[in-house]
């Protein structure tokens, strides 16, 4: 693996050198962003503008220069905002010999092209067929074995066999992706009667976690092949599949989840509270539903190394099959999984605060940016409440100080 990394670095340097020789503009990803943003708040900046503009202090009158703050903030967000970039794949600093992650791909040198060609041959000619075969094997084994186990009467033997079957099949799937996973702090692995929460980057997260421990899955019932697999799995051990109509009913969902965790013989539930795939540079808002149930939460942080293969699933750009093919024709999927110590809701803490506390812990461990924005912004519009907050804050500046003066 280290040799592969060295080759990648050499490839990047070669491209840059070749580009300079021809005076071509090289597209370099700027990990620091395009602009330097001022971190001042609304109040701080308004005070500054007014103090420089007139002799009066913040005395509550309107100044025509007040729009400067909103204007600049608006322009800054047009050039570079924190949210929209989380929904597309992260840019790499050095090229990893995959055309999909390179914006400068032109013929720079014969050696480089040969190396790239060799890479393509290895990946598509050798690795891909091998992996596809393994994937088929893994999935069919899962279906067959779980159906067989399902015929057994409930009891310790059934549970043991079910766990073994699940683990084995997931491990085959992991090999099918050549996922190189490092597990940290396995002593904190989720136990029965709890909920496991993790940050979501792709459907592969499920396979990665399930190959190291047994979980009860939560999800919508699908038709076709997925539905077939779901029905087979549920025969061996209880998973929680919802009908599409039931998903809208939050009380029903909460009840089924809490019933499951109260039964200590059932496996811990695996939930991704972000609700959608994020590109693994940040953790977005956790939906509070899973945190209202009132049981122990086992946070897990998953961080992928994008140099060997980009794991993020951009569902608006690529369908599932396309995504899986890309996964299987990358070099490898390398990731680290950290099992964090269990957390419970504290006295006087509501579900949202608890969710934020868990989110902060996961972000800290995985080296991700902790964000308050909702992952649902990938497809939906932002709520007006945020705008109203800003308007309220500004209104306070306009008239607030007058009230203070009349009170004193």
């Amino acid at each position: 693996m280290k040799t592969l990394l060295k080759i990648f670095e050499w490839a990047t340097l070669r491209i840059e050198r070749g580009a300079k020789e021809r005076n071509h503009p090289v597209y370099k990803p700027y990990t620091n962003g395009i602009i330097a943003k001022e971190p001042t708040s609304l109040v701080e900046e308004m005070t500054e503008i007014r103090r420089s503009g007139s002799n009066r202090d913040l005395d509550g009158a309107f100044e025509m220069s007040d729009i400067f703050y909103f204007c600049r903030r608006g322009l800054e967000s047009i050039v570079d905002d924190e949210v929209t970039k989380r929904f597309s794949a992260e840019e790499l600093e050095s090229w990893n010999l995959l055309t999909r992650s390179n914006y400068n791909f032109q013929h720079i040198s014969t050696r480089l092209t040969v190396l790239w060609g060799l890479g393509v041959f290895i990946r598509y000619g050798f690795l891909l067929p091998l992996r596809v075969t393994l994937a088929f094997t893994g999935v069919s084994c899962l279906v067959v074995l779980t159906t067989l186990v399902g015929y057994l009467p409930s009891g310790r033997v059934k549970n043991f066999l079910s766990e073994t079957a699940h683990l084995m099949c997931y491990r085959i799937c992991v090999r099918a992706l050549t996922a190189i996973i490092t597990y940290h702090h396995s002593e904190n692995k989720p136990k029965n009667g709890g909920i496991c929460v993790a940050n979501h980057t792709s459907p592969i997260d499920v396979i990665i976690l399930a190959s190291d421990g047994c979980y009860a899955m939560v999800g919508q019932t699908h038709g076709g092949l997925m539905g077939f697999i779901q029905r087979a799995m549920v025969r061996a051990c209880p998973h929680i599949w919802f009908e599409r109509s039931e998903v809208k009913d939050r009380h029903l969902v909460a009840k089924r989840l809490s019933d499951h965790v109260q039964d200590k013989s059932k496996l811990p539930i695996l939930i991704f509270p972000e609700g959608t795939c994020i590109n693994n540079t940040s953790v977005m808002m956790f939906k509070k539903g899973s945190f209202e149930i009132g049981c122990t939460v086992y946070p897990v942080a998953i961080k992928y190394d994008p140099r060997f293969g980009e794991a993020f699933w951009n569902s608006s750009k690529y369908g599932m099959v396309n995504y899986l093919l890309r996964m299987m024709s990358s070099w490898a999927i390398v990731c680290s999984v950290w099992y964090l110590p269990p957390m419970s809701r504290e006295e006087g803490e509501d579900a949202v605060q608890f969710a934020n506390r868990v989110k902060a812990a996961i972000a800290r461990q995985g080296g991700l940016v902790d964000m308050l924005w909702d992952g649902g912004l990938k497809r939906g519009k932002v709520k007006d409440t945020f705008k109203e907050e800003q308007q309220k804050l500004y209104s306070k500046i306009l008239v607030g100080t007058q009230e203070d003066r009349s009170r004193s």
Binding site: P25, Y27, K28, Y30, N32, G33, I34, I35, A36, E45, I49, S52, G53, S54, A61, F62, M64, S65, D66, I67, F68, Y69, F70, C71, R72, R73, G74, L75, E76, S77, I78, V79, D80, D81, E82, V83, T84, K85, S88, Y103, N104, F105, Q106, W373, L377, K381, V382, D384, F386, K387, E388, Q390, Q391, K392, Y394, S395, K396, L398, V399
Partner: protein, 192 residues
Amino acid sequence: PLWCDKVLLRASRRVEIAYFSHSQITRLYSRFHSLDKGENGALSREDFQRIPELAINPLGDRIINAFFPEGEDQVNFRGFMRTLAHFRPVEDNEKSKGHDASEPLNSRNNKLLFAFRLYDLDRDDKISRDELLQVLRMMVGVNISDEQLGSIADRTIQEADTNGDMSISFSEFIKVLEKVDVEQKMSIRFLH
């Protein structure tokens, strides 16, 4: 890549290139491209509104408007850069010297004109009481009554209006803001 080269060749004949370095233009084009969901080489108002931080900005709609020339619904990359050029810091003007005699887009005057146009929706070069009220209402939402807002507007016009026409002209606007550090407040620090 091919798309970048074509645009850069065209852009290099334009004046906007004086405001941004080669690498900044590349980066801005990449940003433009990522906002352009329809992939037709131009941005619509919806493309801007998809940016959450802009959608929650009280003056978001006015700012988006500033990108679109009179009566048009699409802005191309040149127009995009042109509007952003207003926010280049003033001290970086060595590049634009010697290009033409007219004032650079990011001069203090042009920055103030940009702000003036945020108020002056009908482009009649005057900020009327109504136009001022509209902007005030956008910034305060529902938190201040009509009467209070009206008196704030009246007082502002009274203080600024020197020729008694009950509206604020551009020169009156400049006079009111003469002590404000416009260069710093209406500038964005571009990296590299």
